[in-house]
Symmetry: C2
Subunit: 334 residues, 2 copies
Amino acid sequence: MTTIRDVAKLADVSVATVSRVLNQTGNVSPKTLQRVEAAISQLNYQPNDVARSLFKGRSKMIALFVPDIMNPFFPELARAAEDVASKHGYTFVLCNTDGDGEKELTYLKALKQKSVDGIIIVSSTLSKDAMAHLDLPIIALDRKIGTNIAAVTVNNRKAAQQAVTHLQEVGCKRIAHIRGPQGASNAEDRMAGYIDIVGQTDWFNPSFICEGDYTADHAYKAALDLLQQHPEIDGIFAANDLMGVGVLKAAAALGKKVPDELAVIGFDGIALGEVTIPTLSTMAQPTYDIGARAAEMLIEHIDTYDLNRFVEPVEYEVKLIKRQSTERRTNDDK
Amino acid sequence: MTTIRDVAKLADVSVATVSRVLNQTGNVSPKTLQRVEAAISQLNYQPNDVARSLFKGRSKMIALFVPDIMNPFFPELARAAEDVASKHGYTFVLCNTDGDGEKELTYLKALKQKSVDGIIIVSSTLSKDAMAHLDLPIIALDRKIGTNIAAVTVNNRKAAQQAVTHLQEVGCKRIAHIRGPQGASNAEDRMAGYIDIVGQTDWFNPSFICEGDYTADHAYKAALDLLQQHPEIDGIFAANDLMGVGVLKAAAALGKKVPDELAVIGFDGIALGEVTIPTLSTMAQPTYDIGARAAEMLIEHIDTYDLNRFVEPVEYEVKLIKRQSTERRTNDDK
């Protein structure tokens, strides 16, 4: 392997000079620069990032934690973050945590050992304390982690209010909610938005709120139970689109017509919602933008790292997309 | 930062002994082991992978190149490969190449500098020669790269023959093909399978083969043109499911009934095909299995690396899944 010493020898300069050329620090005369560059080129010398990161404590790597890249919301986030990482010369590490706190800690430890420069985390289980001793720049994405870790999220509570209001506007009188996982800040906020709107109505029933875990299968079963126990329910706000698809399947299995007998709205804006039968109304997030913004913030955070510096959280707006699953009913007075 | 010397000092043993404990090499007495472990625990010492990889030339990292993680075929591959990587203690790097040869070379160079241990590559543009000088274990996934790089693929040609035969069996008399990108081995093999079946028929027309790039948008436009120029076409074999969805959209836009006037079959078996209107028949790949197998092969290859050792390619079977888009027509003699 060619080393920096070989380059220095061929260019007839010191190792320190070659280092200054490589790191673009300090003055080097044009003539010397030319000699060093010629030697680098002739020897096909490639500075080794491993040695460099040992020296600087930097690896030029960032990581993204997602529960599962197979949930169709996450590939777009990952693509956005990787695009930004790559643009800035960072290598992008992907970790599927399954929302499992122990897996998350194992990943954190492994990445710390690899001197990863910073991490973007989608998590409901990690606490600020678990990460404090890591001494690493971290950005929370999609879900907040404590109050001191900078987060890129959407205005979940307000968007949930809008979703439920939309169901009311198309004529729903008994609206249920299939919530996201316990402890996920976005799930709590979306449920709070639902309660903001229906909590004071005379028909409100806490058993209209179903547990969910953001998967279609679980929501399918939950919706089957819910609709059998409470046939009066005529609207469901699912906390994400995958669960919305599960609700559509449950309605089909029970012979309930969507939207005439049951209106359904999801959250996220994944492409899947455009091809279901019927198509699924949703609160669409600017997914690529929030993934890219999280990566930009992380890299800026790495460059100016100061554990005590407060990084402003960022909250994006969500947009109501009306599709067939909430088309105004022909019979509004039922 | 705590170093191995601090551990050795506290445990009152040599650095070499601590190293033997950490790497689980050589004999250490139970008593010494206990002392070293107590010291590691007390000092919260974490051996640094960067230093270790500089020493061993290993980083315990593998990478996966995909054209775009947002194509719904790739998240399952990525999940499978990451699961296997993580099980074996490897960190998993994801690179979106957009099928762009220059981007691929930039990634390769960056990963080489980071001493990545091996790469799984989904590519139509990289040549064996471009990778030869890298001196790195590589597994080709989904698409072959030359003949000397081990590949994990499916039997594309035979599966394409099956898809076209299925269209014939449900009554199609004029079958078109929307192919994948030029130069992608899987696209070439799928087209060859199509020609195997229809090439000798009296109606075969080379302009029934449309260019495609595995995206829905492009296939939508291609199918619009094709069906307008050749209204006699009554069956389309799309080289992947995303393009199959594009064909369904084009048929809907032209008022062509699927499957009665046009039968459609895709390839891959992504979840999207289960929720389209109508649902999409497909040649389903064992996606998770091939992603996991590629990662297993790569890690085995890393452990026993020998550039001259031939790694057997692996070919998986594909399964025909019949859905609404190819349900037998009511009027078979049209």
